[in-house]
């Protein structure tokens, strides 16, 4: 702990000046920039050298980076102040999606504002953990039973509204971001174990009564992709071929035959990891995981250094949410988790998830750089 403090001071000294004025965190920024550079290179390769795709990607990256800068300037207490409002708006949007949402790929997920289409569940990825953190910000850790239940209620209602869209994958991930807050607030292990056993026990019921055919199909395919090699198992088989054929040192940049010959589905978005693994092999994969570890460790460090409960809980849960996204995506494309439509954070071709992600990095940086100002 002592060493950590010294380390922090060193970093501050080195980065004092521009980074400090802009409320940016050097280590986080370094990790993000390295990932964005890799992302641009691989998106370019995965799109078979399509310059237009790269341009659009860079524009989106630039736009979301501006959002990161903007959110880094907002002190955590202001964010905390507006949290109930943001959450309220998010809930209204989720309800309106169910009422007048646009149908895409068999599910209602989008709201059309005329000039842009928006997925309210994206907003909830941030709003839910912020809201639960806001709930627990005042008071002791671990929170009281009533607070735990109200936190759980928030999680269940939000996730429920997304499940009925239907979007099981996203709802689970959003629920997790809320549950992380409860976990970091100090929910006792007894409760955690009880909850885990309850969920496992209810799985067969969910399977039989609440899951859609395509969701069941995904799970079945995950359990045995080779059972339907040209049907729904095709994506996973082709993805595993891409990863495995990369070997230790890969086929080289622009060398992904699986992507270039269209065997790999969604090669610029959900399956971008497979392209990286095919072109750069195990070495590339290790470097990528190292970068993610750097970012996650830094995020958890920021949480440990935060001064108020709201900041602590938000920083820790946003970081862990990022981790879950990384793990679920890589687990999915390498065939150890079922297929859920989910991009790999910071590496996939930019979409609305990139915006959410950059905003959460902005909040993390704000938490880290504004505590000095709060300190007296």
């Amino acid at each position: 702990m002592h060493i950590n403090l010294n380390f922090k001071q060193k970093v501050y000294r080195r980065n004092s000046g521009l980074l400090n004025t802009l409320h940016l965190d050097g280590w986080l920024l370094l990790g993000i920039l390295l990932l964005i550079i890799s992302s641009s290179l691989i998106v370019f390769s995965a799109s078979s050298g399509n310059v237009a795709v790269l341009e659009r990607h860079l524009i989106r990256v630039g736009f979301s980076f501006i959002l990161l800068l903007a959110f880094a300037q907002i002190p955590p207490n202001i964010i905390s102040f507006y949290t109930p409002w943001i959450f309220g708006i998010g809930m209204l949007m989720l309800i309106s999606v169910l009422l007048f949402g646009e149908v895409g790929k068999g599910a209602k997920r989008w709201l059309d504002f005329g000039f842009t289409r928006f997925q309210p569940s994206e907003l909830m990825k941030l709003a839910l953990p912020l809201m639960v953190a806001w709930l627990y910000a005042h008071g002791t850790f671990p929170p009281s039973k009533s607070k735990i239940f109200s936190g759980l209620a928030l999680v269940i209602i939000t996730a429920g509204l997304i499940i009925v869209q239907p979007d099981l994958g996203t709802s689970i991930l959003i629920a997790m971001s809320g549950l992380f807050v409860i976990f970091f607030a100090g929910l006792s292990w007894k409760w955690i174990l009880a909850a885990i056993s309850l969920v496992s026990a209810s799985l067969p019921i969910v399977w039989n009564f609440y899951m859609y055919a395509y969701q069941k199909q995904r799970v079945m395919t995950f359990l045995n992709p080779e059972s339907d090699p040209l049907g729904s198992g095709y994506h996973i088989i082709q993805s595993k071929i891409a990863i495995g054929s990369g070997g230790i040192d890969g086929k080289g940049y622009m060398g992904s035959t699986q992507a270039h010959l269209d065997f790999l589905p969604e090669s610029t978005t959900d399956f971008i990891f497979s392209v990286l693994a095919e072109e750069f092999g195990l070495i590339g994969v290790l470097l990528l995981l190292l970068l993610y570890t750097l970012i996650i460790a830094r995020g958890l460090y920021i949480a440990s250094q935060a001064h108020d409960n709201f900041s602590k809980l938000v920083a820790a849960s946003l970081t862990m949410t990022l981790f879950v996204y990384v793990f679920v995506n890589i687990g999915m494309v390498s065939g150890i988790l079922p297929v859920v439509g989910l991009p790999l954070p910071l590496l996939s071709y930019g979409g609305s998830s990139l915006v959410t992600l950059m905003v959460s990095f902005g909040i993390l940086m704000s938490i880290h750089t504004h505590k000095k100002l709060l300190k007296t």
């Binding site: 495995g244 699986q258 065997f263 693994a277 095919e278 820790a316 793990f327």
Partner: protein, 619 residues
């Protein structure tokens, strides 16, 4: 609890901080643990199973297309193509690109109504089970008009492309079909005995005739093309090509012009004609009339067409040259006479009185001439075809000598022609009768065997071979169809090895041979010669012998329609001959079943045609 809310003691604050901190450590440990799990998974995929996935990736990328070899063409002796390969238009289906198979085929039928429903239905079932990316060909060839019509509307048929394929084609249709044979779809039984590697991508195989006999020369060996394909099976680029080894072209001894000429002569008859070069055994014409169109068989003959061929009273599918076994009748007389001379059974000029019959043990063996030929010697007996003379001669000679003398000419055993399924005919003997009939031999059997009746049976091919052997003065040749095979037009003189197998019949006195041959010359030219009418126009000295065998249709009588047998009660007309006498260029056997025309004039026309028109064009 409520007071704590106001002011948290320092110890509690510290406790809270360490609780949060422990949760952070737990989270970090969790992250690292799961990342290690992912790394383990990556090592499993990228290191342990690298070879497997590498191979699968290459298999994805590279697909091997088999290039079937081009079947060797078959030429006649003058380099006229008689079995060719012609490009035909076919439709290639890639299932993956077809949205709705049922609708597509329905629509296709509307666009190309000539495709039979049966073919489409069968193909539909095949397509349903097929691999998504492997192309399938509709077993139906489009003509040029249909192909043009399809290409105009092809935008309506994603997944179906028009491609050209080489298909066997017999430009002369029925001509020489029994020698040439045909190719047809490989069936299950053939598949079992094939080298599957060399037949990958090949659809047809020689079924009959030369096409079957020389399958190994004609077929060739397939090539391989490696192509890079995308996920839709579309070829992105060609990687490596191992060219197919085309089948060898072969040249037959057949002269297709002569063949067609003969077929024209015997058109409408049930006939067989074999024309052979006595010096080499090369078969110039191989006529079995009526014939059938081999082109019908290539894509698999329809049941309707096949039934028509089967029910045809002319029995076109029967290879009469090879399998038609006829009593040779009087055509054996020169051979019997020669045997008698060589065995000193009777002097050449010894005269015998013919009252119109030969009486033996109270049984009268009738001559074809009721009132008899009067006093005849051997020469008269041959030119006038006197049966009485030969009844007596046969009896004097005995069946053993007849058998042993006629056997070397090729009677009673296969000629060894390069076609499979040849019939042996019957050259009767005591041993043969006991073995097959279980009865002992009677002298009466010998008497009728001497005029080529009774048990005696020979195929037209055997008659031609015997005639050629006689023309050669005892040099036995092997009849054959393969002249030489052309290795890509090099090594043109790779002559048929079986043509070299030649032996000589032991000759006692060459004078005996010449006397018989001269007597056969008088058959054509003599004042009483049985073929003098046909021989009148001859410009060459020609040897010949006529024969008439009483009604006896080939094949088993059981399979014959009783009505058609009664209609066809006429005698068979036979003829053997060769010309010119002293330097034989051509030997012929003609058999016309239930003859409406005589065999001798046919043979004379052939000889004239060949010696006048063709011989002068040959180098």
């Amino acid at each position: 609890m409520s007071f704590k809310h106001q002011q948290q003691p320092l110890a509690l604050l510290h406790e809270q901080k360490s609780l949060f901190r422990s949760r952070l450590y737990f989270a970090l440990g969790f992250v690292i643990l799961l990342f290690i799990m992912l790394i383990g998974r990556m090592i499993y995929l990228q290191v342990n199973n690298f070879q497997h996935y590498h191979a699968m990736s290459e298999g994805n990328r590279i697909s091997v297309e088999i290039i079937p070899p081009v079947r060797g063409r078959i030429y006649d002796r003058n380099n006229v193509v008689i079995a060719d390969n012609r490009p035909v238009f076919v439709l290639k289906f890639v299932k993956n690109d077809i949205k709705n198979i049922n609708n597509t085929l329905f629509h296709l039928k509307k666009t190309l109504p000539s495709i039979p429903d049966k073919v489409l239905k069968k193909f539909f079932n095949k397509l349903k089970l097929a691999n998504k990316f492997r192309p399938l060909y509709l077993p139906f060839s489009l003509n040029e008009k249909e192909a043009a019509h399809f290409s105009v509307t092809s935008y309506q048929f994603p997944g179906i492309t028009l491609t050209a394929k080489l298909k066997r084609y017999y430009p002369f249709g029925k001509s020489a079909v029994h020698a040439l044979g045909y190719v047809g779809k490989i069936n299950q039984r053939e598949l079992k005995n094939l080298d599957l590697k060399s037949y990958q991508g090949t659809e047809v195989i020689g079924k009959l005739g030369v096409e079957k006999q020389y399958e190994s020369l004609l077929h060739g060996y397939p090539g391989i093309q490696q192509v890079e394909t995308n996920a839709k099976g579309r070829v992105i680029r060609k990687l490596e090509t191992l060219a197919a080894i085309p089948g060898q072209d072969i040249q037959l001894t057949i002269d297709i012009e002569l063949q067609k000429y003969i077929e024209q002569l015997v058109k409408g008859q049930k006939a067989s004609v074999v024309v052979i070069k006595p010096k080499s055994g090369e078969i110039l014409a191989y006529v079995s009339e009526p014939g059938y169109d081999p082109n019908l068989f290539i894509d698999g003959i329809s049941q309707k067409n096949y039934n028509t061929l089967l029910k045809d009273a002319g029995r076109p599918l029967v290879n009469r040259v090879l399998n038609g076994q006829y009593p040779p009748a009087s055509t054996v007389k020169p051979f019997i006479a020669l045997a008698a001379l060589e065995h000193n059974t009777i002097p050449f000029y010894k005269k015998i009185k013919d009252p119109g019959y030969f009486e033996f043990k109270g049984h009268k063996y009738r001559d074809w001439k009721k009132w008899g030929h009067g006093e005849v010697d051997m020469e008269d007996a041959i030119t006038q075809s006197c049966d009485t003379y030969f009844y007596k001669l046969g009896l004097d000679l005995g069946i053993k000598k007849i058998h042993n003398s006629l056997y070397p000419f090729g009677f009673g055993h296969t000629t060894g022609i390069d076609l499979s399924g040849e019939s042996r005919g019957i050259l009767p003997s005591k041993k043969w009768k006991r073995a097959t009939k279980g009865k002992s031999w009677f002298k009466g059997d010998t008497i009728i065997a001497a005029i080529g009746q009774g048990y005696f049976l020979a195929t037209p091919l055997q008659l031609a071979k015997a005639t050629a052997t006689l023309a050669n003065r005892g040099k036995i040749i092997q009849p054959h169809l393969l002249k030489e095979h052309l290795k890509n037009n090099e090594n043109r003189h790779n002559s048929n090895p079986i043509a070299k197998k030649q032996t000589q019949i032991e000759i006692q006195k060459i004078r005996n041979w010449n006397r018989i041959i001269n007597a056969m010359g008088k058959v054509m030219k003599g004042p009483h010669g049985t073929a003098r009418a046909a021989g009148r126009k001859l410009q060459y000295p020609m040897a010949g012998k006529t024969g008439t065998s009483q009604v006896y249709s080939i094949g088993k009588e059981a399979s014959y329609d009783a009505k058609s047998v009664r209609k066809n009660l006429r005698d068979h007309s036979l003829f053997i001959g060769f010309a010119p006498i002293n330097n034989p260029e051509i030997a012929i056997s003609v058999v016309i079943e239930n003859a409406e025309i005589k065999a001798a004039p046919v043979a004379v026309a052939i000889t004239n045609y060949y010696l006048n028109k063709i011989k002068h064009h040959e180098p």
